[in-house]
């Protein structure tokens, strides 16, 4: 009951998406694609985004600077394009990293059962009893901050979800005839898990990575906003927002633009993630 109700509901909510990607999904796909392109080639497009022009100072939006400049004279639009890299690629690394780590823990736990399973699941329970962002704030802060550290901490914090999911999916496969057959053939456990069981578990687990991507984007932006993610002055959305928050009256666009970028990207990624999740999970169930 606990777990089923929301899942059942989500199926109903999103049944429309599954068959025809509605306008909302299309718009979201375009936004996510734009953010990805900016993340990959953005810094090449705007090589001088972080150059400071202190004499220019704050300028309102106008020709030459569509969104104006911040108090360091940096073009806000260029900062946004350059900032997509840490925001989007960092979240991608978190989603993939927690997928790998979670599966390395969850698949053997489900396959072997016993003490390995008990240990892994108690660990997951413990991690679940705490909100990830709060732990990330405390740990990255006390350890000294930095982007790599923030990404690593989030990987560790996100992995229990993947581990639980992978374990449940493997439990479902463990007693199927093809696994018994592989055992009879005397294949090694690691070979059965990686070559035979995992491909059948993959759709469900990959689907979750898309949802994790959305959560990670928001979490990383939050850490950067608090000054615990990227270095000061880096062109990151959360950081740019924090740097210009105090100038909201004098120079609103320098803070509003990154805020809008974060909100639209987060919402778009969630919608696309939900849609992909729904499709992949339906495929996983059909097996």
């Amino acid at each position: 009951m606990t777990a089923q109700s929301p899942v059942r509901g989500r199926g109903l909510v999103r049944r429309g998406f599954q068959h025809r990607p509605g306008a909302m999904v299309w718009v979201s796909l375009v936004i996510v694609a734009a953010a990805l392109v900016a993340a990959i080639i953005g810094p090449l497009l705007v090589p001088g985004a972080t150059d400071q022009h202190l004499l220019t100072g704050i300028t309102p939006p106008g020709p030459g600077h569509p969104l104006g400049t911040d108090q360091l004279g940096r073009d806000v639009l260029q900062l946004l394009v350059a900032g997509a890299r840490t925001a989007v690629l960092g979240a991608l690394v978190v989603a993939l990293g927690s997928l790998v780590l979670g599966n390395m823990i969850g698949v053997p736990a489900g396959y072997f059962g016993g003490w390995r399973d008990g240990l892994a699941m108690r660990w997951a329970d413990l991690m679940f009893s705490l909100p990830a962002l709060l732990v990330a704030i405390v740990v990255t802060g006390v350890l000294g901050g930095g982007f790599v550290l923030a990404v690593l901490v989030l990987v560790v914090l996100f992995s229990p979800g993947d581990a639980r999911l992978a374990r449940a999916a493997v439990l479902d496969q463990r007693h199927r005839p093809y696994v018994e057959a592989a055992r009879l053939l005397d294949l090694s456990a690691s070979r059965i898990m990686s070559r035979h069981v995992w491909p059948n578990v993959m759709p469900v687990v990959t689907a979750n990575a898309f949802l994790n991507f959305a959560f990670a984007l928001v979490a990383l932006a939050s850490l950067s906003f608090l000054g615990l993610g990227v270095e000061p002055g880096s062109p990151d959305w959360g950081r740019t927002l924090a740097d210009n928050r105090s100038q909201l009256l004098a120079n609103p666009w320098a803070a509003l633009a990154p805020a809008i970028a974060i909100v639209t990207t987060a919402v778009a990624v969630t919608i696309v993630g939900d849609w992909v999740h729904e499709r992949l999970e339906a495929r996983g169930r059909a097996r």
Partner: protein, 320 residues
Amino acid sequence: MTGQEWARFLARRVAAAIAVVLVLSFGIFALLYLAPGSVEQTLLGTKPASPETIGAIRAQYHLDEPFLVQYLRWLGAALHLDFGTSIRSGSQVGTEISARLPLTIVLVLYGSALAVAAGLPLGVWAAVRRGLAVDRLATGASIAAVSAPPFAVGLLLLFVFAIGLGWFPVYGTGETPAQTLWHLTLPAIALGLGGMGLIVRLTRAAMVGELDQDYIVFARARGLRGRTVVGYALRNSLVPVLTAAGLIVTSTLVGTVLVEVTFALPGLGSLLVDSVTFKDVPVVQAVALLLTVLIAIINLVVDVAYAVVDPRIALGREAS
């Protein structure tokens, strides 16, 4: 369910909650040793590190004793709400926390209340008008509300309603209680949006399921008023929503950290961020432990409330 079964269920849950808090408290204490640089340096902060001050710090924090003894000393003091002195301000950590706690509690309650007050009716409305424009709008809005980070939403609210329209104050917390509530309205909206989205989603999903049930069809066929019928369905839909209550309050507690920084409010969240930035480890430990205990209590209350509503949970040993 008999009294004895209840007692056993309660004892098990309380023991589990205490175990989680103990394990995490160990991690929280270890933060002192995880911070870069030597422990003495961390505890000295910006004070000069002479042999005398280092010696005083070592004596004050019992750094010559084994790690486990230090941990037990710290935990024992924490049980008496003694968290030592702040490195940044030099004042008692407990005093600083109690000065900032009320604002955070008011903000979290205010935000959660707004989330429930807006989320429940919207979810019911969307379910009753399933598939129509209202439903699509509410569903879309709930996705946006769940995924948008509170600090970015807060900034947009601040710009539109405080700076642009001038309806709400930009900074400060007000002096009288009524003023404070007024000052905290925008932060509470930014904070409550995520929970609201979640409640809309869950209520709508549960209501859609209930409205398809035979008893609803029968009630309608008997000619009961639409409002009465929706009332029946709502009562049965609340169980899954209640399950998510813990999640909502916890996410609000996390969100308050971001919202307090966005709106420059002197609450527990901004204290945590300031202390983390300054590496004021005693304050970070105290706030982290406090939040851990709060979250454990919330989860415990939700577990018990859920068992009260649906006794099968306690009887089934979570098997169902």
